[in-house]
Amino acid sequence: MAGPGGGGGGGGNDLQWCFSQVKGAVDEDVAEADIISTVEFNYSGDLLATGDKGGRVVIFQREQEVGNEFEFSGTKKLIYFCQSKSRPHHGGGEYNVYSTFQSHEPEFDYLKSLEIEEKINKIRWLPQQNAAHFLLSTNDKTIKLWKISERDKRAEGYNLKEEDGRFRDPVRITTLRVPVLKPMDLMVEASPRRIFANAHTYHINSISVNSDYETYLSSDDLRINLWHLEITDRSFNIVDVKPANMEELTEVITAAECHPHQCNVFAYSSSKGTIRLCDMRAGALCDKHSKFFEEPEDPSSRSFFSEIISSISDVKFSHNGRYMMTRDYLSVKVWDVNMETRPVETYQVHEYLRSKLCSLYENDCIFDKFECCWNGLDSAIMTGSYNNFFRMFDRNTKRDITLEASRESSKPRAILKPRKVCTGGKRKKDEISVDSLDFNKKILHTAWHPKENIIAVAATNHLYIFQDKVN
């Protein structure tokens, strides 16, 4: 059900999810550069950005339905604002390519003889303030602010130039005319407006725009820096967990995010499964956390790999700012920001992998960094798994569902069938056994439309878009 407020009752089993679109190359061979490495909706949900390993950013725009009405307001600024907010899409609205550009190129650090990958680690949109769209994209070392603007008019009738650009001989000019703006085919241009470089020694894992819309933070394995969007030649280091003696290193930063409403608060997760909430008003260096979230370890489930699977790969605040969600290898946990002792909810994503940790260590799958996301109402959460499966959990009904992003279920409006993994005993029909799972098909990146039940799921080099069935 499309409309403001997120539609149905959230995720889970209340809704039925249908295939909407799939983007990506048709052929079977997967080029490394085409592997999608990040997916992000903008604040209105009309734009969907993806970054890939080749350093490219592709932005999709939701097409407007013909005959939409949107409110006008007096000033031009408000017109744009209203346009993005209240454009009702009645169940349709496909996402089509809006802009493609090369954000980052491979670089070589000559001092360290290290190649810097061009892979886009994260994209974060800025809230729209005028006709143009802005986003931040980052690779391992450098963050860039991109401006994406439309050009649909062209000036014609220059005095000194011909239409094709050749200069006119000034002697020949006998009359003067005022150039006029004529409509042209829509052209979307992306230009880098700021380049924030040389601030990170280690690999950048997160960027997060602050709610003041003036600053943002970037985090690498050991440090978190605070930037001003206008200033590129300096940043403030607000967290530094590098020990004086590197031999004493036991913990690294894995993800960081700004609080959605309180511009002085941010959270960061660690490889030891802990989350720290920090208040920037407390001091210039936020090494002392305000809150420390850790769940005591269950000693009976200890193994060689306990430390690896407790490492948090993603942390996300809920839209209302009251909860945080963390993803570790086997589970998703929801934490109440006011309770540090343990999470309020824990959801098992693929517990059947616990007995396979040794094999997953061997083939490196245990190091996969899964992301997680909230729906617009904070009533459901979604995360990915293997075999192109992804999971949704309804926080209210406590029901969960496993769906698959595959070519087989790619017929328009085809309802996705719930999938089930057989963990032991007799395998029922339509169930898949753990040993048959394809661990090369992993869904690490997912995104949920901020207002509607539309989800984007990145499956290696394909982007799947699913919508809820309109009843």
């Binding site: 190649e115 590197m246 290193l249 490889s271 060689f304 430390e307």
Partner: protein
Amino acid sequence: MEFKVEAHRIMTISLGKIYSSRIQRGGIKLHKNLLVSLVLRSARQVYLSEQEELYLQAQGQFQPTAAEQSPNWAEMEERIAYQTPNDQGSSRVEAERTEPQEQGPSWVEVERTMCPTSQDQGPEAIQEQSAVSRPPAVMCAQQLESRGSPSVCDSAKACCGRKRRSGEQGGGEPESPLKRPRTEQPMTISTTTHQEEEEMETSNVSNLINIFGSSFSGLLSKEQSEGESGQICCDQVLGNMGSWNRAIVAF
């Protein structure tokens, strides 16, 4: 016992990961290497405590009960936690002493086979057998040149002396394999230290990786042909890993 085999396997895999992380695109990933080093350390602790257990059993001091024969993780950790560093050092040295004794017969056999075959079978046979003795010799060469603590060097020299003697008895051939890795080693160290900046703290890492790398490649090549000498290699590495424990974590 299954723990020991499993721990050994995990250590081998971890060493391989550390080694291959050095050549992957984009530079060493600190997070992944930290996790791998933690797994390596856990596996090593389990492995060494099993070694100590076996040693004590052999000495007749330790009466294994049904429960202790298959220790669970918590018990293992308790046992490790109660060991003081001195105890650990002495148990490690003792473990080293017992190891070569246990594997002594195989070395003696190698020596014996090398002498007669040098007369009978010709150069190919000699090279094969000298190849067998190469990995431990490589290990010794590496350890001597590593910037380890004095205890490491002492134990390395102790075992190296033993190995060298057995090697030399076989004739001149084993010395050339000894020389070859030696010339490779200084070059790799100088290039890596030249390349890597201190701030990344990877100079320790590169030394470690060279050591692990050669031992791992030694393990790789030998595990296919002769599992026994592969075992010897790994045990050599593990016996000396005590002082490198913190260095591993330094990733």
